[in-house]
Subunit: 361 residues, 4 copies
């Protein structure tokens, strides 16, 4: 299905970094859901470059909703959102020399040289602006159903934030944070480490931790649409994400069953687990605990140091020095994209499970 994800609620994305516009179509969302444009603005602001750790190239993201909203509420028909690209004057690109760790060469092999290579084209992180705009509508709808989603930077450039503890409180903390960390000092330490890499003409990556609360137990499928399956499927679209682990994740390899198994207990009449090493999912199905996972984001591929590469047009070795200004780290900006993608997956799962009108009820 390529640029579309989701079954009962789906998202289709289109656009290139330096084309006319980027955009997204949300389909299947229940009618009667209020569309709060200030929420869309706020979410887009989180994704927008800010301060010294991001690219200085800032776009206003002046989105337009072309369809699917009437009198401020969803109609139940597709919501098309378009964000014009403001700066489509592209300087001359050295097309044909692969930027290491970018999609230049793999895209060339797929599209045979017809790809719009300017600014990364359809592979650009720019596309995520439409995902964030669409995600804002979904996040808002989910919150009205008691479902909250939040992501913070667990690790960046060797600096760590504390993991989620009291998930509800922590999510509240993150809701309006422009640099999503939980621990005092984490932002400063990370910022400094990012700037250090920047000064070296280099870049850094990190680990994001996400929590989703408020989903009933009993959602998801054992084969093949486990909650892990759907979240990872959607999240691995985000450029730079190269790993995902649920609950205790890779640390489970060093545990024994007696440590890893989440003991159950009844608290206030509700069945919960004492630990959450399974990240809220058993057998692919939610168990009522928060869904928890970590994603690793690789260092931004665009660095200003000279790199060894090839011209795939001439099929020969060719050194490369990437000009221009780039994000030395995208971890901060990626958080809101992860939240948006999660909103899509969760909204779709719940609509499949409880029917078309569920999110508006």
């Amino acid at each position: 299905m390529k640029n579309t994800f989701g079954q009962s609620i789906s998202l289709t994305v289109f656009g290139e970094s330096h084309g006319e516009a980027i955009g997204a179509v949300i389909d299947g969302l229940a009618s009667g859901i209020e569309v709060d444009t200030s929420r869309i603005d706020a979410q887009l602001a989180k994704r927008r470059p800010q301060g010294k750790t991001d690219t200085p190239r800032v776009e206003k993201d002046e989105y337009k909703i072309l369809s699917g909203v009437f009198n401020g509420k969803t109609t139940g028909t597709p919501i098309a959102i378009v964000i014009p690209n403001e700066n489509t004057k592209s300087k001359d690109y050295n097309y044909g020399i692969a930027r290491p760790a970018h999609a230049d060469y793999s895209a060339y092999c797929k599209y045979h040289g017809y790809e719009d290579y300017r600014g990364g084209g359809h592979f650009s992180g720019r596309i995520t602006a439409s995902i964030v705009a669409a995600g804002a509508i979904l996040l808002d709808a989910l919150e009205k159903k008691g479902i909250k989603i939040g992501t913070h930077i667990l690790k960046c450039a060797g600096q760590s934030d504390r993991p989620f503890e009291n998930v509800s409180e922590d999510l509240a903390l993150l809701a309006n944070s422009s640099f999503p960390t939980l621990e005092k000092g984490a932002q400063d330490a990370m910022t400094e480490a990012i700037l250090e890499a920047k000064r070296d003409g280099d870049s850094v990556g990190g680990i994001l931790q996400t929590a989703i609360t408020g989903i009933d137990a009993g959602v998801g499928e054992p084969w093949f649409d486990s909650v892990e399956s759907l979240l990872s499927h959607a999240l691995f679209s985000i450029g730079g994400i190269k790993g995902i682990e649920f609950g205790a994740g890779f640390a489970l390899a060093d545990m024994r069953g007696s440590q890893a198994n989440d003991a159950l207990e009844v608290i206030d009449g509700k069945i919960v687990t004492k630990t959450n090493n399974n990240g809220g999912i058993n057998g692919g199905i939610t168990n009522g605990m928060p869904i928890m996972f970590n994603c690793v984001v690789k260092p931004t591929p665009s660095i200003s140091k000279e790199q060894q590469s090839v011209s795939f047009i001439e099929n020969k070795n060719q050194a490369l020095k990437i000009e221009g200004r780039h994000d030395p780290a995208i971890v901060r900006r990626a958080c809101v994209v992860v939240d948006s993608i999660c909103a899509l997956v969760v909204a779709d799962l719940l609509t499949q499970r409880f029917g078309t009108d569920y999110l508006a009820q």
Copy 2:
């Protein structure tokens, strides 16, 4: 789509651990592909319990191909494979007490008590026997196109194997291995550590490393069907897998771009990368290098130690001691399942890309 995965080539699974039979339907596979039943037998043998580190409960897996094969070759129509369950006499289960880290409680919330709970029902690892049988046909077809897939145990119970080095040679090494490790001594060390856990009435997990070679550059999609998306989607169906990382994975969080970026070069007229930190995938699309990823497998949930749990029928706390004999570790048996799932994803991707007849050409 629940129990079906794949677009141009799809796999549908059905069955419960103690029901009449389990099975799978492969659809979309090209006509004219030889079906080598000895390969199916060999793959099923790899999955079957063996020795002291696996459950002593062994089934013969006497599969039947009901359709889609004629004169020893695929017809192009659905291939249905059925494997009868041999021992369907179930002892009395303590239905209603959740086994920690199992799907008992989440399944109950989803299926409202109508689920076939015997032996894990549809959540049972038993289902993977049909996936392995189906996967054998696909692996065979892929090999004729020069594509190889192999998985070894990188880590288990604190014991490590060496990672892939010369991938082609290592895959050859694994092809007929009954305990897939690369390094001399790894099998013994892991076996001993597993047995130690078993003696303690406990279980262990581990990390599996997989390599896929021979896929052309240019396969996969940037949004949303990246190669990482499709592999993770399918692999997270396997019970116990809680994390996946491609290439250098979570280690990328501690690298800088200058270390992480895979430099490119032309060798013998072919564009390759010096390192493979991106696991053969850039922007969701293959770059011609081996696809490499690791999966973490959590410790087998069934342990003989007493555990704290609940009766979800009576909604009260309830200690649980799981009787019977279980695998103290499933990492060895999981390897062939991972390979089979990969074969499905890769066969599907190639058929989408190059057309229905590609695998038979």
Copy 3:
């Protein structure tokens, strides 16, 4: 998606006429639905050849439910039904000579000669036995929700039945009919006309009329999953169906808007239409009136008269005389197949609309 149809509830079919077995997998059906095997038997009996107007080759259709049913109720996991083929000894087929109006030549072009050609292989009407078995479960579940589906032979071999009048009463009439017609005398007239064709070594077709009652208004989609879209998609799988018209259908071409438009009125507080020229569907969405449509079934292609054809192996003209005994008309047997397919489409639509558990509530 080939041999699978449906989104929230799906059906996968497999098998060849002379292979080991045929079968079907229903996925997505709610848990807790009673599975009444006597209903399955009764539906299969309707499809089975009977009397002089059908082929004398009768199979017992001894189906087995392999999975998805536990203690007589659906578990919510895939229901696999297998029906072994009893008489798989195939006489020598003249493979390579296309039977006119059959799929022999088109199948050869698709499957390159690897198709199982015996008895029509995967194209055989035999496959519909599994659809009828699966459909019986769905029809039963739908009836408990007040939804009824029925089909009668409106026309066959020049003989007509009266169209539906009082739909509810007419559906009750059809429920246990072995030769589904509404008017006294229609069966005899049709039988006689079919036998006449048979005596001539020839065959006949006809028109089936179907009604579906009890579906709420507001189900279906304007683009592209209109109720007409989904029904026609699924129904055009049935071999021999070459046309479908909803409501007044092709007769609308000769009406003016003032005649064709269905006037609305409120009766007993409920909005209904005076006529039903739109067949219960406006803008692709149910309007609460019975869904009504007609399908045309072409004359059975297998006739005993000599026909002009070709050898597609030798690429030359070749006369053909089809041996063996065939149905001179399949219209009667097709009725229950149409009902079964409708049950799938309707169950899927309702599950999408109202959620996974709807049919069990």
Copy 4:
């Protein structure tokens, strides 16, 4: 999947009649295909109202391609086309009174009153403008592969055109026709009959006949994605289409097998059929003959005569006189929409069959 159709090539539509804009996203089209905007213009012109038989409300359809085209060629990534709505000032609508044979009431039941009812909203024929723009690109690409698609008005308001005879010549005739008929005089007779209905404040429907040539034998699936299935699925999205018949269609009900069966013969080394009663499709798969089908279009629901209806808000009877100017017949304008939808289905089928790059090769 709602507003998206297609597997390897898909089309997503969005928009409402009086919203900001309508649009479409084509995904999966091969890279390197020339996009001829004059062809898009020409196709849109065919759909645009003209002369006295159409609505006098004409919009310029000034479409914009936002993505997926670079240097005049497709990039292989999604092509988003947006057509702003020019006249979005809506006069006061009598919302709540159902226009007979329109989707007002069924939409209300589905969307609970949140639907954008102005001008038919998402149900409006206006949406087909984006389908035609998208279809123009696909038709162009198909023609370069030797595939031609054309539709004429076989019948309208009691006046008939001759059916296709020499299909290739007839398609050439239709290519640039603004009133697609084959026989001299048909246009005048139909125009006069339409105007007569218009004078009576009434409307008329008709039958469209479509031919598709140049598709190889062997495309399509027996279950469930027969060529008939996919074409009918997509075509039944077009408002007003209430029936479809392939080949001889409903006339097959009155034939015997010996008449209906298409005899085969070898001509110039190529296997063809003497008649084409099966419309180029056997067993759901193309047989190399032209694909032929008829669609019935119901009379335009909007007429100026007073009609009996209901207020679904007040749940009471309510007479209705529809004001404004409407098409007394949409058959002419529907032809190019049918062609566009066929292009989508055929492009998708061929891309599935022969791979992603096929249409550009």
